[in-house]
């Protein structure tokens, strides 16, 4: 690479301003492993093949459409859903009236995992992290007075994807809308569930067959419908950096393409209907570059399949601002964070966008916070004048160089995955999950050291009362759903339902299309749980194997080990006095599969000298109590991110007492609204660690509790 003719002059000047230090000392190594220099020039872009291409034309770095937002701005698509179908429907209609353009439905975790609301494993989950849907009757209420022939509907569903998509199709049909008119997207991205969120039901092989069945059915009957939304968002939320997010997401996409091709479909029949979903974090320029790089790489990956339709090569994406970046402390800062992330998605060229509400670190959005979130996008679209020009950062030396950095970093990982035999095989080896968890543990260690700044959390902290106006979903929702299920089952034709369910089971054993079979059952008023069970008989339920890294958290401290050493000494002192190390059981109860937090805490605590037990996922409080009692831990650490804590924590404490484990203490961490702290303490918890608690602080507080008890 040649240097800018005046580079030497600049270097001298910079060295002088740095009082003799070389400007190289300003280089910053990003978590992605990309070296960022203080200055970029045209010379940095020499030989980069993605530079100076045009939008709408391969390789699409600058956008899939020729005119992008200058022709039509991105779709404001806010993801929402909670409580009952009726409450969510009211919320949707209010938002649509206020300027939102598309719908995006969030389902509760019981629905995701294929359990009806009356199932004993889901008492803490109904209506909490999304809307509870048990049958097509709920689905009809959810879309009441929303014309499904005009409204594009996105549904985040992966586990119970068949009964839910069938429910949507039948609800439309009974609204008088034929399925070929339906527009929107079903997430249907099961592979990433095994990496992060864990809302799968069946093992990978039958799950991939379900994905193919949906792609096959929709390519015949629902030509305008996007059949897979390949999602990196959850990987970012779980701690993946932007290179990992790009690589794993595209590798997932490639796996779906291969699965569909294997069923004999033509690439142009389904590839244009694949869409993507990326998460946008606080590294402003990095994620602009990420979207540009992802489009370039997708074109590169699909080209060898020789599609005739150019749309098969285009990466179209939805984006969402990071929920993880939001803080409980000084929460109005979150509006600013979301605005920056929104700008990043827009400058990266997203096709649709969800902006988070500022209160999502503590609970579900209120009407007020939802309005501010929506307005964030409306302001950028209608006041800021950024929409007039396509890819306005195209040609920026820095952004182009970053784009190149992500392209080459992600390409390397994708090649590695291909060498393992593709993403499904790679997932079996555990490689992608461990990489993400390592990335997450390192980030947590940087935050705990103050190297990554989070305002209000590890810098510029303020003393103030946190948000009190938090939306809460009570147990009344579960009671109502259970009632409605009883009613439904009393009214329907039981024989017909039974026949339809048996038909599904036979399809699962053979090779009939499972979506077609599910539509018949849902039309006959079979429930989401029943349809899921009919397949579980054949496919079984998947049990994740948990691998856990160790040593990563402490190693990120480099030579600054004073705090680590101090805690190790405290653990050792405890062991010398008590005869064993502090032993803690980390658990997740209910259907909340977000296990990033619990894994990061587990690996960090082990690094700090604790003995850490990890429970299987999806435990009932009784199962967790049994394990705590048998392992004779000092303490149970409950991680809750899906609002189940008020039900599950008291049940756990009761189960511990019943089994003779009343000396075992309970601490709770995760997304806990401040208003619930008192409730949890009264229920018997001895510590509550909300979002943003440093692991060092929580470990010290935990030891305080243990020492007090034993001291």
């Amino acid at each position: 690479m040649t240097d800018h003719p005046q580079k030497q002059k600049w270097t001298d000047l910079a060295t002088k301003q740095l009082k003799g230090k070389s400007p190289d000392t300003l280089d910053w190594m990003t978590p992605e492993g990309i070296r960022v220099k203080p200055l970029y020039t045209a010379e940095d872009l020499e030989g980069m093949e993605h530079v100076n291409t045009l939008p709408g034309i391969a390789p699409f770095v600058r956008g899939p459409m020729a005119t992008m937002y200058s022709g039509r701005p991105w779709t404001i698509r806010q993801y929402a859903g909670f409580s009952t179908a009726r409450e969510s429907n009211e919320f949707y209609r209010k938002n649509l009236a206020a300027g939102q353009k598309g719908l995006s439905v969030a389902f509760d975790l019981a629905t995701h995992r294929g359990y009806d609301s009356d199932h004993p494993r889901v008492v803490g989950d109904i209506g909490k992290a999304g809307v509870a849907v048990d049958s097509v009757e709920d689905m009809k209420i959810l879309f009441d007075k929303i014309p499904l022939d005009e409204m594009s509907v996105s549904m985040t569903m992966n586990g119970a994807v068949l009964p839910i998509l069938a429910g949507y199709i039948v609800a439309a049909e009974e609204q008088g809308v034929p399925q070929e008119k339906l527009t929107g997207t079903i997430q249907n991205d099961i592979l990433k569930e095994y990496l992060t969120r864990n809302t799968y039901i069946y093992p990978p092989t039958p799950s991939m067959r379900i994905v193919s069945d949906i792609i096959g059915y929709c390519s015949k009957h629902m030509p305008k419908y996007n059949t897979v939304s390949i999602s990196g968002y959850h990987m970012m939320e779980a701690g993946a950096n932007s290179v990992l997010q790009t690589a794993f997401t595209l590798a997932d996409g490639l796996e779906y393409v291969k699965a569909a091709l294997a069923t004999g479909m033509d690439i142009d029949v389904f590839a244009p209907r694949l869409s993507f979903f990326f998460g946008i974090g606080m590294n402003f320029f990095m994620d602009i570059a990420m979207l540009r790089a992802a489009r370039f790489l997708w074109h590169e990956l699909i080209k060898p399949f020789n599609p005739k339709n150019v749309q098969s090569l285009m990466l179209r994406t939805h984006c969402q601002t990071s929920g993880w970046s939001l803080t409980q402390q000084d929460p109005y800062n979150n509006i600013i964070r979301t605005t920056l992330e929104c700008m990043s998605a827009v400058l990266g060229g997203t096709q649709s966008l969800h902006t988070n509400s500022f209160d999502e670190a503590v609970g579900l959005p209120t009407n007020f916070s939802a309005r501010i979130a929506r307005n964030t996008q409306i302001l950028v679209q209608e006041e800021s004048q950024v929409c007039h020009v396509v890819d306005p950062l195209g040609g920026s030396y820095y952004v182009e160089a970053l784009t190149d950095g992500i392209i080459s970093g992600a390409r390397k990982i994708i090649t590695e995955i291909q060498a393992l035999g593709g993403m499904a095989k790679a997932i079996e080896t555990g490689m992608p999950k461990l990489r993400i968890e390592e990335s997450a543990a390192r980030k947590q260690a940087r935050i705990d050291q103050g190297l990554d700044v989070i305002v209000g959390v590890n810098k510029y902290k303020i003393e103030e009362k946190p948000l009190e106006d938090v939306r809460e979903v009570t147990d009344a929702v579960r009671v109502e759903q259970v009632e409605r299920l009883k009613e439904l089952k009393a009214k329907r034709n039981a024989v017909e339902v039974q026949k339809a369910l048996e038909h599904i089971t036979r399809c699962a054993e053979g090779d009939g299309n499972l979506l077609e079979a599910s539509i018949l059952a849902i039309r006959a008023r079979a429930t989401v749980g029943e349809v899921s069970d009919a397949m579980e008989k054949v496919f079984g339920r998947f049990v994740a194997t948990t691998q856990c890294i160790s040593g990563v958290y402490a190693s990120e401290y480099g030579n600054n080990t004073a705090v680590i050493d101090a805690l190790r000494k405290r653990s050792q002192d405890f062991a010398d006095k008590e005869g064993r190390r502090p032993r803690i059981l980390m658990t997740k109860m209910g259907q909340d599969g977000h296990d990033r937090g619990v894994k990061v805490v587990a690996t960090a605590y082990a690094d700090l000298g604790f003995d850490v037990d990890i429970s299987p996922m999806f435990q009932t409080p009784e199962e967790t109590a049994k394990m705590a009692i048998e392992n004779d831990v000092h303490l149970v650490g409950v991680s809750s991110l899906a609002a189940g804590h008020k039900t599950l924590v008291p049940q756990l404490i009761a189960a511990l007492k019943a089994g003779g484990g009343d000396d075992i203490k309970v601490v709770v961490g995760g997304v806990i609204p401040p208003a619930d702290y008192e409730f949890l303490f009264e229920a018997g918890a001895v510590g509550v660690f909300g979002p943003g608690t440093s692991i060092i602080d929580s470990a010290n507080q935990t030891l305080n509790v243990l020492e007090k008890k034993h001291g």
Partner: protein, 326 residues
Amino acid sequence: MTVDIDTSVNGLLNGNRRILAKTITLIESSLSSHQSLAQAILDRLLPHTGKAVRLGITGVPGVGKSSFIESLGMLLVGKGHRVAVLAVDPSSTRSGGSILADKTRMERLCADSRAFIRPSPSSGTLGGVARKTRETMLVCEAAGFDVIIVETVGVGQSETTVSLMVDFFLVLMLAGAGDELQGIKKGVLELADAVAINKADGDNIEKARRAQRDYETALQLLRPASPNWSPPVLTCSARDLTGIEDIWSVVLKHRNIMTSSSELDQNRRSQSLSWMWSLVEEGLKDRFHHHPEVQHRLPQLLRQVESGMLSPTAAACQLLFLLDKA
């Protein structure tokens, strides 16, 4: 921890899980006060021990030990057995802490009231893994568990230790994982009462059969420990639940043969003796290192041996002589 010996003994004999768990904690404790309590309880329990099938399972990380135990354990509780699983997890030497995640792979078994699973960190106990696991096994027997499974990672010393405390030692292997012996020490095969090739499912079945033949050949070259038993090689899949029942039949067959030839009793007696001797040796070492005179003299003698001023033999004599001083 306040413990009443009578309450503990009665509780254990009545199968009280909380007391069982607490007693294991005493056994694992590094405090000598806990130790003597544990010994007092153990003495009272001894008449109630010895009736269980003691099964050791080893294999390299990734071979699927935990999933195998989940499948075997579920099969056994289904047959009316009460199963205790003792798993030893390595502790980090730097932090001293450990991650005990075995139960995540034994989801159904750990929720089952007929099973008791106790993973233990390997560090920080007097007498190490061996004493702790052995005594825990006895306590579980007294608490009414009739199958005790001891799980160990087959990459260190622990597999020999475990083979010396069980009646049947099963070595799990994978097919086609490169090197035929996959980094597992060849000596481990000599300890095996049976070898099972796990993950014999899907595309892997053919490879597993080939590995089965290879291991059969390898085992024929070893002299069997008992004239009445040649270790068989089996295949199984913890995922598809195939071959698990066969492995259990092999364990029972072995038990019948060993019982009728009285080798089972002989083995257990010789295990007790070797166990006693290893405790004596460990105790001597421990006494040596903690002897005040030794501690006082040792640094100087070390320096002298290092610098060649004193022969190692002379130094050793001097040190051992110190032990005789009261």
